[in-house]
Subunit: 388 residues, 4 copies
C-alpha cells in the first residue's frame, strides 16, 4: 500500500483535529486510498513541537518549517497555523512540489490567496483548503439531492453561522481578532465556511451587499501560547487592546444561477455555539441543515401527496454518503472529528488518484474574493460584484 508522509505545521486546535483525522482514516476507510503516515510535526518551540509529536503520534518533530517543507521524505504539507503564515508556507511547499492541505481561510485577503493559487498552478500537486463543514455527510447528501434535481431550480438560500464564545467582551484577544494576522474577523473566520457551503450547494456567487460591524472594539490580551477559543479563560480585568476586525456581518447574495440569498454571521449570538447552517428552497423542494445537529438533514419534497408533505428529518447513516465508512447505525453519532476524517479522505484519495481535491485553492481564492467584496460592500454601503 502506498504511504504518504505528512508534515504538519502547527499543533493547536487544528493540529489536533488533523492529526486525529490521519490516525482515523484507515479505520474508517479500509483499504484506504493511501496510508497517511504522521511523519513530522512542526511548531515554534522545541517544547511545543516535541509535545506535538508525543501527543499527536508523529514520528519526528521540528521547529523549522522551511526545512521540513523541503524534506524529500515528505509528501504532504499540512498547514494548521494562523492565517498570516498560510501563504508563505504554502508557496514554499508548492515550490518544493508537495501536496498541500491548508486551513481556512486560505489567506488574509484575495490578493494573498491569488499568490497561493498562482504558486500551485501548473504544478503536479494536489491542494485542498479545509472548509471541513461541507464534508458533513448530511451536507454531501444535500448536494446529491440537488444534483439529482430533487429540489428543482434553486430559488433562495439563507445561511447562518452564529457563535457566542467571542460574545463576552472579556474573551481574550487571540489572533482571530487582529487584522494583521487574521485578515478579517467574522467574515473570514466563520462567514467563509457558510459561503463555501453556499457555493457548494447553490453555485457561484456574483455579488454581495453587506452590513459589517464591530461591536466589541477592544478585548483583554491573550495569555498563553494558543488561541483557546471557547476554552479561553475570560479576563474581564485584563489589560485591553483594540480589535480591528469585524464581529458582525449580514449580507445579501446574488448567485450566478439566479437564486438569491442572505447570510448572517455573528460573533455576538449568545446561545449559539457553532450554529452553522442553511435553509434553501427550490421549485420542487427544500432543505434545512444545522451543524449543531449535524446527523440530521431536513428535506421537503413538494411532490409528496399534499397530506403527507412535511420536512423529513433524515438521520444520516449507512445509506448516505460515507455511511459505509463511518458507523453502522444511524444515530450513533457523527461528530466534528468524523467530519475531519471524511475531509482527510478527500485529500488522500485525490492524491492517490492523481487529481485535484475539493475544495481546493481555486475555491479558497474565490471565497477570499467574496470575503473582500463583503468587506468592501460594508464600507461602500451597496452592492459589490465579486472580483470586480
Amino acid at each position: 500500500m502506498r504511504t504518504l508522509n505528512v508534515a504538519m505545521i502547527g499543533t493547536g486546535f487544528m493540529g489536533k483535529a488533523h492529526a486525529l483525522a490521519y490516525a482515523g482514516l484507515p479505520a474508517f476507510y479500509w483499504p484506504p486510498p493511501a496510508m497517511p503516515v504522521r511523519k513530522i510535526v512542526v511548531d515554534r518551540t522545541e517544547a511545543l513541537a516535541a509535545t506535538g509529536r508525543d501527543r499527536f503520534g508523529f514520528e519526528q518533530f521540528s521547529t523549522d518549517w522551511a526545512a521540513v517543507v523541503q524534506d524529500p521524505q515528505i509528501d504532504i504539507v499540512d498547514i494548521c497555523t494562523p492565517n498570516d503564515s498560510h501563504a508563505e508556507i504554502a508557496i514554499a511547499a508548492a515550490a518544493a512540489g508537495k501536496h498541500i492541505m491548508c486551513e481556512k481561510p486560505l489567506a488574509r485577503s484575495a490578493p494573498e490567496a491569488k499568490r497561493m493559487l498562482d504558486a500551485v498552478a501548473g504544478k503536479n500537486l494536489t491542494h485542498m483548503v479545509a472548509f471541513n463543514y461541507r464534508h458533513t455527510p448530511a451536507v454531501v447528501f444535500a448536494r446529491k439531492l440537488i444534483e439529482e434535481g430533487r429540489i428543482g431550480t434553486l430559488l433562495n438560500f439563507h445561511g447562518h453561522y452564529l457563535s457566542d464564545w467571542p460574545a463576552d467582551p472579556a474573551t481574550p484577544l487571540s489572533w482571530r481578532f487582529q487584522k494583521s494576522v487574521a485578515g478579517s474577523g467574522t467574515i473570514g473566520d466563520i462567514g467563509s465556511h457558510v459561503l463555501d457551503m453556499a457555493r457548494y450547494l447553490v453555485g457561484e456567487i456574483e455579488a454581495v451587499n453587506a452590513i459589517v460591524q464591530t461591536y466589541i472594539a477592544e478585548r483583554p490580551e491573550q495569555t498563553g501560547e494558543f488561541d483557546k477559543l471557547g476554552s479561553a479563560e475570560r479576563r474581564p480585568e485584563g489589560p485591553r487592546r483594540p480589535v480591528d476586525v469585524d464581529d458582525e456581518a449580514t449580507f445579501l447574495l446574488r448567485f450566478a444561477g439566479g437564486a438569491v440569498g442572505s447570510i448572517d454571521a455573528s460573533r455576538n449570538a449568545y446561545g449559539r455555539g457553532n450554529y452553522l447552517g442553511f435553509e434553501l428552497h427550490g421549485t420542487t423542494g427544500s432543505i434545512i441543515f444545522n451543524f449543531e445537529r449535524m446527523n440530521e438533514l431536513k428535506v421537503f419534497f413538494a411532490d409528496d401527496p399534499p397530506e403527507l408533505r412535511g420536512f423529513r428529518t433524515i438521520m444520516t447513516g449507512p445509506p448516505h454518503p460515507h455511511g459505509e465508512a463511518l458507523w453502522p447505525v444511524a444515530g450513533l453519532g457523527v461528530g466534528y472529528l468524523d467530519v475531519k476524517i471524511v475531509e482527510c479522505h478527500g485529500l488522500i484519495s485525490a492524491i492517490a488518484e492523481g487529481r485535484q481535491a475539493s475544495p481546493n485553492f481555486a475555491d479558497g481564492y474565490r471565497i477570499a474574493l467574496i470575503c473582500d467584496a463583503i468587506l468592501a460592500s460594508g464600507q461602500r454601503r451597496g452592492w459589490v460584484e465579486v472580483g470586480a
Copy 2:
C-alpha cells in the same frame, strides 16, 4: 356594562377570525373592558351578507357599507376587506367618528396610508391595524424581557416569514397577487407582519436594502368569491393571468437604536406553512420565536452560570402576558384564534379607556413607508432611507 356595537365589513377568512374574537372576548376577559356586540355585517351581495350574519352571529346584515358606517348605532367599524378598499372605508368611518379596526397592511402604499392617518388625526377615536402576530403571548413576553433589560442592548434581529401555499404555480391568482388590489405581494402581505414585530421589539427602522423578486410570473384565474389561500383548489390547467407583485423579498435593516438586521420573506418556501419568526441577540441574552410553535419562546441569558446556560424553551401559560385570560395550564395550546382574541382585547380596552390602540394607524403608516422603501430598494439596488 358598556356595550360597543360592531359593524364588520367583509366575511372572508378575516371576517371569520374577527367575528370569533368578539364572541370570545368576554369568555376570556371577564369582566370585559366593554362588551362588543356583533351588530351588523356587510358584504357585497345579499347572499354573502346574510350568510355572514348567520354564520358569524351578527344581528343584522347589509350590502351597503357606506350607509353602515354612518349608522348612529355603530361604535366600531371593522374592515376585513382586501387592501384596495381599506382607505375608502376607513376615511368614511373616521368622518363618521367611528372607532376603526383595519386589517393589515393598512393600505396599498404609504401615500394611501397617510391619507388614512390624516383622516383619523385629531379625531377622538381609537384606531388599530391588525398586525395580530405581535399579540401572541410569547411575543408580548419577549417585549417585556427586552423592556426589563434582560437581553441588554440589542445588536441584531433576523426575521423571517416564509410560506408555501403560493409556492405552487397552480395556486390561483387571488387579489393577493394583483398590485391594483394588494399594493405589493410578499412585502405587504407577510413582510409587513415581521416588520411590525421588528419595530415592536427592536424599535424604529431607518433604512432598508433589498432584493425583490417575482419568480412566479403568472397564475391561473381564481374561481369563486373568496380568496381561499392554502385551501384554494390548485388549477394547473386553468387560464393564466400575469402576477404583478413580488413573491420573494430579502432585505437588510438598520434600526434607529443601532442594531442591524435581516428579514427573509418568501412565498416560495416549500415546507414552511406560516413560518413567521425571529432570532435576536443582545449584549446579555437572546430570544428566538417561531409562530408555528407559538406557545414557545426560547430565551438565553448570558448571566446564567456558564455550565447552566442554554436556550430555555418557555411554554407560555398563566404566568405570562394574558395568561390569566387564556387557559389555566401551559401547553393547553393557544392558537391563531386566541391571538385574535388578545388583539380584540387590545382594541376594546383602548376604546373603553379612551386611548389609542397599539398598533394603530401611525404604526400602519410607518410600516407602509418601510414597505415602499423595500420596493424602491429592490428597484434601485441599494440602501433606501425609510420615508426619504
Copy 3:
C-alpha cells in the same frame, strides 16, 4: 336550519371551553349540521349562573339543574361539572330524553359509569364523553393513516401525559385531589385521555400492570369557587388537608390486537405543562404526537427509499381532517379551543344525523373499567384483566 338548544351545567374552565365551541361551530363548519343555541346555563348560585350567562353568551340562567334537564325546550344537556355529579345529572337527562355531552372521565368508577351507560341504553339519544384530545386534527389524521394500513400491523404504543401544575406541593387541594369527588387522581384526570387515544388508535386494551403512587400526600386548602388548575395561587403557608388520590401512574398495556404498550401519567413532571402524546410503531411505519405541538404529526414510512427515510413533520392544515373547516393555511395554529370546536362538531353532527357520537358513554365506561383495573393493579402489584 335545525336548531338545538343547549343547557350547560357548570361555568368553570370546561364551561368556558364548551360555550366557545358552540359559538364557534357555525363559523368553522358552514353550513353547520344543526345550529346550537346557547339557551340556558346553570351553576350553583345566582351570581355564578348570571355571570355565566353574560360571559358565555347564553340566553338564560338557572341554579336548578334538575329543572333545566326537564325543560322541554332543551335538546342537549352539557355536563361541565366535577366528576361527582356527572352520573346524577346524566341519568336525569337521559330520563328526560335529552342528548348528553359529558365531561371526562365519565364517572368516578366503572360501576358508576355503568349506571350512566345503562341510563342511555335503548333511548333514542346521542351521548358523548369529552375526551377532546382525540379530535385534534393531527390525531384524527394518525388514525386515518393507521386505518389505511400505512403503518402496518401495530406492535407497540408508548403514551404519556405528564403535567406540572400540581407538582408544587403548595398547589391547592382542588376537587381533583379528592377521591370522593374525582374518583382517582392522575389516572382518571389525565391517564384517561391517553387511554382514550390508545384505544382510538390501537384498539381495545385487555390487561394492565401498574405502579400507582401518591408522592404529595397533603395540600393546602383551595380558596375561591373554582378549581383554577395552573392558574391557582400557590399557598405554601395554607392549612393542609390530605390528598387521597394518586399523582403518579406508570403502566404496561396489552392490546387485544396483540400490540404491547406503556403509559406514563404524572402530576410530578416539572417542565411538562400538558405533555400528552404517544409514539407508536408498526410493521411498516411509525407515528409520534405531542399535544404541546398539536399542529404537528411525525410520521415515518418504512417503504420510503432507505436514503430518504426520516420522520416527516407534517403540519396539519387544509389537506387534513377538518382542515377545510379550520384555517386556510397550515401553521396558522390550531389551539385548544379549535379542538373543542371539532369535538362539538362531532356531537352536533351525530345528533343531526340521528346517530351515536364518538367517543360515547360506552367508551367512557370502557375507560372507567381500565382506570379501575389500573388502580387495582397498583394495589395488587400485578397484571389485571380489564373488566374482570
Copy 4:
C-alpha cells in the same frame, strides 16, 4: 510517561471504536494518565488479524487469544468479541493478572457474569465494562446536577432505547439474534445500556415487571465474517433460521431509593436509529436526554421564577465534564467516537491511579441480574425482585 500495552481481541465494529479511542486518548487528554500502546490485535484468522493490525494501528497481530492474554508484555486485555466469549477470555485474562476492558453486556447471563466477577475479585487489577453511553458529557453532567441536589429527590425515570436497523425482517440473523451467543436480544443488547444509565443516575434497581416479545421469529442467514448491524445487506430472499431471543421489551422499575420508572426497549421502532435516552423528574427539577442529540441536555429547574421556567437546552462544551479535553467550542460536535475516548480515559486513568474503573464487572454483573429478572418477569408475568 508510563505506557500500557493493549491486546485487543476482535476487530469488528467495537474493535474499530476501541482502537480509535486508544489512538485519540493523548490528543484529547494531555498529558494522558498513561500512554496506551496498541501492541497486539487478535482475530480468528490470520487475514482478519493482519488486517486489524494495519487498519487499527497495532504493532503485532495474532490468532491465539489464549497465548496473547498470557503475554507478559501485555497490560490490558480488551475484549471486543461477541458475548459468548467474554467470560472465557476475561477469566483467562484475570488469571494472568491483566487489566480488562470488556464489551457489554458483560455476559450472556447473570451466573456467567458472576463467574467473571469472581475471577477478578481480590486481584489487583482494573476492570471495566463498556457501557459507553454513560460517558457522554451530557450524561456525566446530568449526574453532576443530580449529585449536587439540583433536581431534588428523584421521583420517576422513563428510559428508552429504540432502534430500527433490525426492524426489517430481512435484516440478517447475526449473532445478536441467537441466544447461544448473545444470551438475550433487545434486553441485553440495548436494554442493558439504558439500565446502566438508570443505575448511574437514579441508583439501584430492586424489582422489574416486564413485557417481553419476539415479533420477528426468523431471519435470513448472515453472510460474511462480521455482524454489520445497520450496514448489513438486507436479504429478503435468503434462507431463514429461527430467532430465539426477544426483540421487544417494555418494563416497569422500582428503584431502591423510592423512585419508579419504565423503560421501552425495541428493535421494531422504525425511524429510531439509536434512540437511547431518558426523561427524569425530581422534586425540584427535570432532565431529558436523547443520545441522537448527544451534545444537548435539557434541564428544568423548578426554582427558576415562574415566568422564566422552561427546559434549558444546554449544549455541552468547555464548561462541562471533559469539556477541556474535547473541543474548544460548544456545538462543534461530540460524536460516538469522542464518547469512546472519554470511556477509554476512564479506563486508563483508573489503571494509572491503581483503582477500580466505573462501570466495572460488579456493575456488569448487577445489570446481568436485572436483565435475567426482566426475562423471568416476561415469562412469569409479574414483578420479579432483582437477584432473588
